[in-house]
Structure formats: C-alpha cells, structure tokens
C-alpha cells in the first residue's frame, strides 16, 4: 500500500513537472532599432522574475516595422505579442480593433496613470477611451544652440528663447555675425511648436472633443503659428531644409551651418554619433522659445488583438514600463528619456551630458517633460496634419496668404471629417 502510494506520488509529481515545463511560453517582440537594444538589455532581468517566459526579438528598420505591423493587423496574422509603436503611428493603429485596449480588464492600465509623465497616457488613448500602448520613453522638446556662434554675435540663449519675437530679432544678429549660417533648419518648425502649445483643455491639435475642425483663419493658434513661421522665412533665417532627416537637413548639420534646432532630447544621441560629431562641446540646450513645452515623439508598447499570449505579453510590458530599474537601464542603453516618473529620480539625472559641454540638461528635460500639456488624439490627425503642413508650405513659399491658406485647409479637413 505504502509502496503504491509512493509510486502514485512519484508519477503525479513527474506529471506536474512535465506540465510546468510545458507551460513555458514564448512571446515575440516586434521592435525597431535602437529600441531593440532596450529589449536585449531587459531580458535577463525579466527572466529572473518570469523564468517561464521566453522573449524573442523580431527587429525591423523603423519604417519597415510599422509597415509590417499594418499588414499583420489587417490580415490578422503575423504580428508579435508585444509591439513597439512610435508616437507618429499611434493615431493610425488606434483605429479599428487591431490593438488590445489596455484600459480594460485584466490589464487595467489606468491604475498606473499617475506614475507616468502626464501627457503620455492621453497620447496613447483614442477618442473613445481605448488605450493602445503603454508609454516607455518620451521626447521632451528642447532648443539646442551653438554656443560659439551665439557668442560671436554676443547673443545669450536666454535672449533667444525669451519669446518668439525675441528669437527672431536676436536670430537676425546671429545670422549676420556668422555668414553662411542659418538660425534654424526650417521655418515650419516654429509653427509646429506653436500649434502644440496653448491648447484649451479637451482640444486636440486639429479637432475638439466633438470632432469639430479647429483649423480656421479665425483660430488664433493657427494664425499665430503661421505668422511666426512666415516672419522667420521672410527674414531669411531658415535653411529651408524641410523635414528632419531630409538630405538638406542632414547636410546642414554635418557642415555646422545651423545655429539652433528644436527637437527632442534624443537628438543628442544622433548628434554625437553621426550628425554633428565634430561639434562636441559646442552645442548647448535650453527650453523652447516663448516658454513653450512640446513633445517630440516617444515610444509605446502595445499588444495586438491577435496575440495568443496576452498575459505574458502584459507582464513583459509592465516590466519594461513600470519597473524603475529597467527604465533607468533603458535610459543608459539608448538615451531614451524614461516615461516613468520614478525612474527620473535616479542619480544619473544629476550628471552632466558630455556632448553638451557637461551641461546638466537632464534636469532641464525632466522639468520640461512635466510641463508638456496633454493633446487629445483624433483618428483623422494624420490627414489634418498633412493638409495643414501643405497649407503652411504654401504660405512660407509666398503662393498664398495666411487667411486664404487656412480657409482652404479648413475646407479640405472638413470634407474628410465625415
């Protein structure tokens, strides 16, 4: 009897063991560089907590990753269990039901809201309250400036960023004192910042809560944005380089022909690695002009609806985003600014940034991140953005005046918003 019992015990424990081994789940993470190095760095720590989850990385180039994700979501097959979504694509993937709503049970992401930088949760939340991704890094906007070029014109950074008027007036001095140098890559950048600041609560960039189109020749925010950009263009202060990372933009940086640039904190990584290698120690950072605070990108982790391992995926996302040690590790790995507030209190934030002449810019960015206002996302934002940018380009080019361009843009957006 005793022997049989022991045998039964042995057999059943063997079965249990076998079952436990079978429970080992594999999750795939769809990601793009540099964010893939964050995952690589995170796996050992994650596996200490969750030894039964194996993490596989599927990394594609930035654009390819988002294209592949679109295809996978449209056909319902082939997406990873955890996918990275850059901010520029949130609106796109927020449509339809391709992504799991993290606000719902069992995820209840809402409980973590207060732990993150304020504007990140609204960024990832759709009009109807679904949340498509957990924020992992943020891009607090900053004015980068060449200390040597400013010194030559006897202009201080504080004079440049006091207000937009002061930026233009003192920018003229900088350009005059440094022939061949431009104040800024493209005049439209100023408009983009102004469009993102001074929003009324509940407003998106182009639409309000009730889907009403805000683009109009009577909307002070749009008129002001277009006016300031036009003044910069007319004063011949910009290199007319178009969007960031265009060939003209890159060349201007590499040749050292730019006195200032507005961008996210992440730009420093690009500058020191390839964009402006030769100018280490000559760049500094301050807040954006006119007391504006804007965000430049940011990354999110989401779970496609088609995933079969949502629990394991969610555990991994929670580890990546809500674990302060991991968020600090990610910051050390790629320099992506943590979205988790607790991670921003690490001693590393008191250190200077070597490329920026050991200026303690991380403290600057931390307070800037806290001041960025949330902007509501609308599913038609990509359409409106394109139309408004086209209108702005025509104003800058002098083919249309501001009221005409804005009135036409309003019509074009309204006919899409049906």
């Amino acid at each position: 009897m005793q022997r049989t019992r022991a045998l039964v015990l042995a057999v059943s424990s063997a079965l249990l063991l076998g079952a436990a081994q079978a429970q080992k789940t594999t999750i795939t993470v769809g990601v793009f560089p540099d964010l893939d190095s964050v995952i690589k760095a995170a796996i050992p720590g994650f596996n200490k907590l969750y030894p039964n989850v194996e993490v596989k990385i599927s990394s594609l180039a930035y654009a390819d990753h988002h294209n592949a994700l679109t295809t996978a979501l449209s056909t319902g097959k082939g997406a990873g269990d955890v996918v990275a979504i850059d901010f520029g694509f949130v609106a796109k993937f927020a449509e339809g039901n391709g992504m799991t709503d993290l606000n719902k049970a069992p995820f209840n992401a809402g409980q973590f809201k207060s732990r993150f930088v304020g504007y990140t949760f609204p960024q990832a939340t759709t009009q109807d309250g679904r949340m498509v991704g957990m924020p992992t890094d943020v891009g607090p906007g900053s004015m980068f400036y060449r200390t040597d070029l400013l010194a030559k014109a006897k202009v201080t950074p504080a004079q440049l960023n006091a207000s937009w008027e002061s930026y233009i007036a003192n920018g003229k001095k900088v350009v005059t004192a440094n022939p061949g140098v431009f104040l800024i890559p493209d005049a439209s950048e100023a408009a983009q910042i102004i469009l993102r600041t001074g929003l009324k609560s509940g407003e998106g960039m182009y639409f309000d809560k009730s889907n009403k189109v805000l683009v109009s020749p009577t909307n002070a925010r749009f008129v002001r944005a277009f006016t300031v950009a036009k003044q910069i263009r007319d004063a011949k202060l910009d290199a007319r380089a178009g969007a960031a990372f265009s060939p003209e933009w890159t060349t201007a940086f590499q040749k050292g022909n730019l006195a200032t640039e507005f961008s996210g904190a992440w730009l420093v990584g690009h500058m020191q690695n390839w964009l402006a290698k030769d100018y280490a120690g000559k760049w500094g950072a301050q807040n954006l002009p006119g007391n504006s605070f804007a965000s430049y990108g940011g990354s999110f982790w989401g779970i496609p609806t088609q995933s079969q391992n949502k629990d394991a995926a969610w555990n991994f996302i929670k580890y990546l985003t809500t674990n302060p040690a991991q968020q600090v590790l990610a910051f050390k790995t790629t320099g992506a600014f943590p979205a988790l507030k607790a991670a921003q209190n690490d001693p590393i934030f008191n250190q200077g940034v070597e490329y920026l002449g050991n200026q303690k810019t991380r403290l600057l960015w931390r307070s800037a991140a806290a001041k960025i206002q949330p902007i509501d996302v609308n599913r038609l934002d990509p359409v409106a953005e394109q139309i408004v940018n086209d209108a702005l380009s025509e104003v800058l080019n002098g083919t249309k005046d501001i009221p005409t361009a804005l009135a036409q843009a309003q019509q074009l957006v309204e006919r899409r918003a049906r």
């Binding site: 319902g76 339809g96 265009s246 201007a252 990509p382």
Partner: protein
Amino acid sequence: MTATPSIPQQVSSGWDKFQRRYAPYIFISPFFLLFFAFSLFPILFNAYLSVHNWQPGSGLGDMKFVGLRNFSDNLTDPTFWQSLRNTAILAVESGVPQHLIALPLAFAIHMGLKRVQSLVTAVYFLPYITSVVAISVVFFTLFSWQYGALNAGLNALHNLPLIGGLFPAEKINWLGEVQYVQPAIAMVVVWRYVGWNVLLYLAGLQAIPSDIYEAASIDGATRAQQFRFITLPLLRPTIFLAVTLTLIGGFQLFEEPFVLTNGSGGTGQQGLTTIMYMFRTYNSYSDAGVAAAMSWLLFAVIGILSLINNRIFGRSGLAGKD
C-alpha cells in the same frame, strides 16, 4: 496468358490519355497560378475594396460597403484633381523630350556608330537599371539649394568677367520653388528613361531592311530624307509601342517625385502625382477604399489616353491610312 500483357498496356494507355489531355495544362499552370495569385486576385480585391470603407489597421472583418461614395469622394477632392494635373504636366514635360531625344539618337547610333553600338546603348541604358536610392543621392548633390553642384556651377559662371551677368547671383532652390519643382523632376525622368527608349527604337531600326536605304541612296536621297520618308513610317509600330509605354509609365510616375521631394510632394504640392496621392491616402490616411477607387479612376484616365494614342499612332488609327 493473353490477359497478362494487356494490363500494363491498359495502364499505359490510360496514363497516355491522361498525359495527352492534361499535360499542357500542367505545363502552363505555373504561369496561371502566379497570375491568379499576384495579378488577378489583387485586381479583383482592389475592385472590391473600391466600394468599401476600410482602415487597414483594423483587420479584414471591418469592411463596410459604401457603394460609389469613394469615387464621388475622389471626384470632389481638389487635391485629387491637382495630383492629376501635376501628373499630366509631368507626363508631357518628361515624355515628349524622351522621344525627341531618343529617336534621333537611336538613328544616329544605328547609322554612325556600328562598331561601338552596344557599348553606347549600354551607357544610355545604365540609368534605367540604377537603384532609385542611388539616383536620389546623385540628384540631391546636384539640386541641393545650399550644397548642390548645380548652384555651385552657376555661381562660378556668375563670377566670370564678361558673361557673368547672364547667370543668377542668388542660389536657386530647385526643389523648393514652385516653378522649378516640376522641371527638376521631369529632368530626372528624362535622364532615366531615354536609354530605355533608345533601346526600343534601335530594335525597331534594326528590323528595317538595309536594301531600302541602299535603294534610296542610289536614288539620291539624303540622310535627312531617308529618316523622314523611310525610317519614320516604317518605325511607326515601334513609336506606337514606345509612346504607349511612356504614357502608362508617365501616368504611374511615383519613385522619382517621391524620392526627390522626400515624399512630401514638394513646395506647393507641385510634385504630388496621383500615384503618390494614392499611396498617401492608403499609407498615411489609412483610407484603403478611397485609395482603391483612386487607382480605378487613374486606370480610366490611362485607358482613355491609350485609346487616343491608338487612334493617332496605331495601325487602325488615323496615321495607318496613309
């Protein structure tokens, strides 16, 4: 005894029958399988898509039937009409020079450069097989406003003593001024496709028997007369083919304007072609139905223009009657 050998015979005759009946189908099936999977199915799916409202991110189940709304949406969209206008202008600006250069060039190569003919043709053909990314780098270094070779060259000419006044003092923003965007794009297209047309025309020229030319020269016809009265008429089928291909290619222009304007369509959207706008509608606006409808509208435009082209250059057309 008699039944035993008849069995394999029967089998082999059955196999024979099977072979004879189905082997041709099996042999041509690879083409048809590929055609169905990669040509016919996408076309039919696109037609289906054009009457539905669909955001690609939300899965195939989320399509909503909307009838012809996608078509009316396009037809009332000013940007669609602008893109069509841009496409037409670019097709003319790039298409006409292509043939005006390629035809005489092919004639000259055919007549004068017998020995190095293949080498010269290969050189002209090279741009056609060059990757668009490489082309974009080359033309950026040419066209760039501040850093371009073209502006550097013009600037150098401006500083010459006597003729300097003929050249602009200020740098020209080739891809940033409304009036220069389309010519700049057209130039790249011409550069890229002249070699292809030279090749087509050379093939056509080689098909014209040389004794006709001999007879003409005995009769005292000059080179120019030979070109006008022998080459051009006999080359009409080739011209028809080349023009048709240019027409279709021109109205489907995408890569060159996309790369040169960094995907933005350029200043004042002058470089936004219909295919680019379709891509934008699908890719950035996530409006697959409207994009599908747009491709059918473009198909209609190309179809009509091809018919007109057929009337002018085709065998049954006006020109065929002389």
